[in-house]
Symmetry: C2
């Protein structure tokens, strides 16, 4: 596991982590079932805040790339390689893009779309 963090990079630190771990899985540098460094450990090695590493791990687990087994540590998910290629971002963009295009075609101002969006995102109960 050779992870490099570039503070100068415009990409967020947690995103760099996610990206590099996914890459390591895809290039067979880590095999499924293998243990990952603990959050605090990795944060210490990379001189990052533990919250930053925790955020990366949380996202990776949501994508089923890693598996956190509570007090036993974190491991590479059995189906990690498959789930790495599934890009959640594209489906998000597609869904939103459709809605936005439809609204714009209906004559709705970008500003109005932003306002409505902001209101919706603040209400937890949709």
């Amino acid at each position: 596991m050779d992870i490099t963090i570039d503070i100068e990079d415009s990409a967020p630190l947690f995103a760099q982590l996610v990206e590099q771990i996914k890459e390591a899985v895809l290039k067979d540098k880590i095999s499924p079932g293998a243990p990952l460094p603990s959050i605090r450990q990795l944060a210490n090695d990379l001189r990052l805040n533990s919250k930053t590493v925790a955020k990366a791990y949380r996202l990776l687990e949501r994508d089923s790339v890693i598996q956190t087994r509570g007090y036993r540590g974190t491991f590479i998910h059995p189906d990690a390689k498959i789930n790495c290629t599934v890009d959640l971002g594209e489906w998000v963009i597609a869904k939103l893009s459709d809605a936005i295009s439809e609204l714009r075609d209906g004559g709705v101002t970008d500003s109005e779309i932003r306002i409505a969006f902001g209101n919706l995102m603040n209400k937890r109960t949709i």
Copy 2:
């Protein structure tokens, strides 16, 4: 036409204008075809910037509540009363709400939705 602008109100000035003009139409205080003050004139009377009034007029015309006939001035739209009740906002909220709910159910973070949304809104070519 008695329009009152409250600077202390949290509602944007242009929104107050839109609201009050729509209200005047609904309450038959102005009839279809009647002329409205010019942008500069109204801005002067209310001590607002002409751009602020222009923005309100632009929105009202998009909703077909008023009609701008170029150099002849601005008038109340023939179907103003009907178009006043049509709330564009509700259809916007419904459309967006659907998309957001779907994404959230798919495990997408609110933060990620916001990022994707922001990126889409900045790219003119969708």
